[in-house]
């Protein structure tokens, strides 16, 4: 009852925000409730009967969270989860309000939350989690986090909130060091890839520091092999062939993370078959090597979010692909940290676009890539790119950062899941 007035205010604000801008203003009610009832978030998060599970890390947390929720729901667990855009305090409170009854109570057995590594430590103050799953430590947002030590420090704060288990990527040396420091009553579960998978990724896994050794069979959930959108996973008892929402080793690792976390949380109730079916039912992800027919052309979309996904995705573009549009938007404030990557395999890019087109062109040129044209206006670039005759080899391929992806989708009238 104590939060009822705050909840009411939050709902009124949400209603008012919607009136003004349909679909918008979603973080504002959370902001207001956080201000007038600062304990609401903490109390509500701690109040789920089967506890709270938190997923954090530099990259892969959205996908891992989605997969974990799917696995838990397939096991009959009523899960509350946050949309990936609402992983900071206000957004999270708004997401809770969205589902809360008039007393502020949120229905559900268990909460599974994706937590931003920057805000997570703050949001998690005083919140008790059953389990915390950590994906990796990468430096993908230099502007915010400056360096990997800082990211690791923030993840350690989030991990310290787990009272039952932490689930860590054993191939990430930072996370292994973090796991060595949790209190003895907290169980440590691990996931990772086999040496064969490492050997097949010539540029490595992309973590700031990769562990010297791989998990031994039986010590965790291990990705034994990845072939396109299929992964072979060894959970210590059985081998499972599972399908991924997009191709790429990082999706297989996300699946292993979700699988290991579900296994840790469900205990006896966990079924490998149910988990596998749930993973297989996740729809393909937009912008991750997805092919769509646009204006009569088959177009492949490739999203790059950090240097690691950039390198992996660039490497996975078929060599000799004739028509590439490369767009870098304002979400990349300082492109410096992309420079250690190597895009020379692209050889030629038809159009470089986006508000950071000049920075992108400069980087590609020093990688030895030929650039036919730089067109900062993305709409014009898209129109002209799609108007080019169908390529003789490969499909039209659009590589973009998140901001350019949103603009591309809006311009081409493509809906679809994030």
């Amino acid at each position: 009852m104590r939060y009822a007035p705050a909840i009411l205010v939050g709902r009124l604000v949400r209603f008012a925000a919607r009136l003004r801008k349909p679909g918008g203003g979603s973080a504002i009610p959370g902001l207001i409730v956080n201000r007038i009832a600062p304990g609401y978030l903490r109390r509500t998060l701690s109040g789920f009967p089967q506890g709270l599970v938190v997923v954090s890390g530099s990259s892969g947390k959205s996908t891992t969270t989605k997969m974990l929720v799917a696995i838990l729901r397939a096991h009959g667990v009523d899960v509350f989860t946050n949309p990936s855009t609402a992983n900071i305090s206000q957004g999270l409170t708004s997401a809770l309000l969205e589902r809360a009854d008039w007393r502020g109570r949120v229905p559900g057995d268990m909460a599974v939350l994706e937590m931003d590594e920057g805000h997570g430590a703050l949001v998690m103050q005083g919140v008790d989690a059953r389990a915390v799953a950590l994906t990796n430590v990468m430096v993908d947002q230099i502007d915010r986090f400056h360096d990997s030590d800082m990211v690791a420090g923030m993840l350690a704060k989030i991990a310290a909130r787990a009272h039952e288990a932490i689930i860590v990527n054993a191939d990430d040396a930072y996370l292994e060091r973090l796991a060595a420091q949790v209190s003895p009553e907290v169980a440590v579960h691990r996931f990772g890839v086999s040496q064969a998978v490492v050997d097949a990724t010539p540029r490595g896994l992309g973590y700031t520091e990769t562990s010297a050794t791989r998990l031994a069979p039986g010590d965790g959930v291990i990705v034994e092999g990845v072939d396109g959108r299929t992964a072979l996973v060894n959970d210590g008892r059985a081998f499972i062939t599972t399908s991924l929402p997009a191709r790429g080793v990082h999706y297989a690792v996300d699946a292993a993370a979700a699988y290991a976390t579900a296994k840790a949380v469900l205990g006896e109730r966990f079924s490998a078959q149910t988990a596998n079916e749930a993973l297989g039912s996740i729809p393909p992800v937009f912008g991750r090597g997805e092919r769509v027919t646009v204006r009569g052309h088959e177009v492949e979309f490739v999203l790059v979010q950090n240097p690691t996904s950039y390198q992996l995705n660039v490497d996975s573009i078929e060599p000799g692909t004739e028509q590439i549009l490369f767009a870098m938007g304002s979400d990349v404030r300082d492109p410096s940290y992309f420079w250690p990557t190597d895009a020379s395999s692209l050889r030629r890019v038809a159009i470089v676009s986006g508000s950071k087109s000049a920075e992108a062109a400069l980087m590609l040129a020093y990688d030895g890539v030929e650039i036919d044209r730089v067109e900062t206006d993305l709409s014009r670039a898209l129109d002209d790119f799609l108007a080019l005759p169908a390529p003789a080899s490969g499909v039209k391929t659009i590589v973009f950062t998140a901001d350019s992806m949103r603009r591309t989708r809006a311009h081409l009238g493509l809906s679809g899941a994030e």
Binding site: V139, I142, D143, H146, D147, S148, D149, D334, P335, S336, Y337, F338, W339, P340, S355, K356, S357, A358, E359, A361, L362, M363, A365, Y366, G368, I371, V374
Partner: protein, 247 residues
């Protein structure tokens, strides 16, 4: 005769892609019709017999001691290159390691190699953002800074005056340090790609020492148009936020 450009400690000192400046020098040399190669040096054993230019990037604070230990094994070489006029570009913590020393907030310090004058002291808050510098040697330098410390004690010979951003320290109005052909700067990432005049100066010095002639090639002229556009875009955003200080 191949120009040999050394990227020092790329495993530790490449947080913002600063080591890639070695590749920028190689490309520009090649575009000028010269032969060039980049040699990544993480231990003294990997040092090539002849060194024409050196790039030392910025790293994370947890690897300061480790990097310092490795640099110490190459202390003699660094001194020799410095006195012989081999161009050395040191960025961020790489520069700080070449200074007299680095002071930590708890009062402890890391002794530097003493190649460059001045020392790094804790800043009240981390300094990040656009950095624009008017340099008497290289014109307007445009880039980004991201550092936890200020740099003091080298006021006699800066790289240039700060027109936007912080540079060496709040209120100093200066950025970087220059000692002969050894240059320390907070400008991180592909600073030589974005500021071709800076790159060409270093290449000119390196080429001259090797009795070669360096004249930027036609490909460089094309690529430098991207650099100009990138500089203009960043300068536009900087100007929109606040007027530039007079150079």
């Amino acid at each position: 005769m191949t120009l040999t450009i050394v990227a020092l400690l790329p495993a530790y000192q490449n947080t913002n892609g600063d080591s890639e400046n070695a590749a920028v020098l190689r490309r520009r040399a090649e575009w000028a019709g010269l032969e060039a190669r980049v040699v990544a040096v993480d231990t003294r054993e990997q040092l090539p017999a002849r060194v024409d230019a050196v790039v030392l990037g910025s790293g994370s604070d947890s690897s300061l001691e480790q990097s310092r230990g490795r640099l110490l094994t190459m202390h003699d070489e660094l001194r020799t290159w410095g006195t012989e006029g081999v161009p050395i570009l040191a960025v961020g913590t790489g520069w700080e390691l070449l200074s007299w020393g680095i002071e930590r907030p708890d009062g402890s310090s890391v002794e530097g190699l003493g190649i460059l004058p001045g020392r790094a002291v804790p800043a009240p808050a981390r300094i990040t953002g656009d950095l624009v510098v008017a340099s008497p040697r290289f014109g307007t330098l445009v880039g980004f800074e991201n550092h936890a410390r200020e740099y003091v004690g080298a006021e006699g010979s800066p790289l240039g005056r700060v027109r936007s951003g912080v540079g060496n320290s709040r209120g100093s109005g200066q950025e970087g340090v220059v000692m002969g052909s050894v240059i320390g700067t907070h400008l991180h990432g592909p600073v030589l790609a974005k500021n071709p005049a800076f790159a060409d100066h270093l290449l000119g010095v390196a080429a001259e020492r090797a009795s070669l002639a360096y004249e930027p090639g036609p490909r460089a002229a094309m690529v430098d148009e991207y650099a100009t556009a990138a500089r203009e875009a960043q300068l536009g955003a900087v100007r929109a936020a606040a007027p530039l200080a007079r150079g």
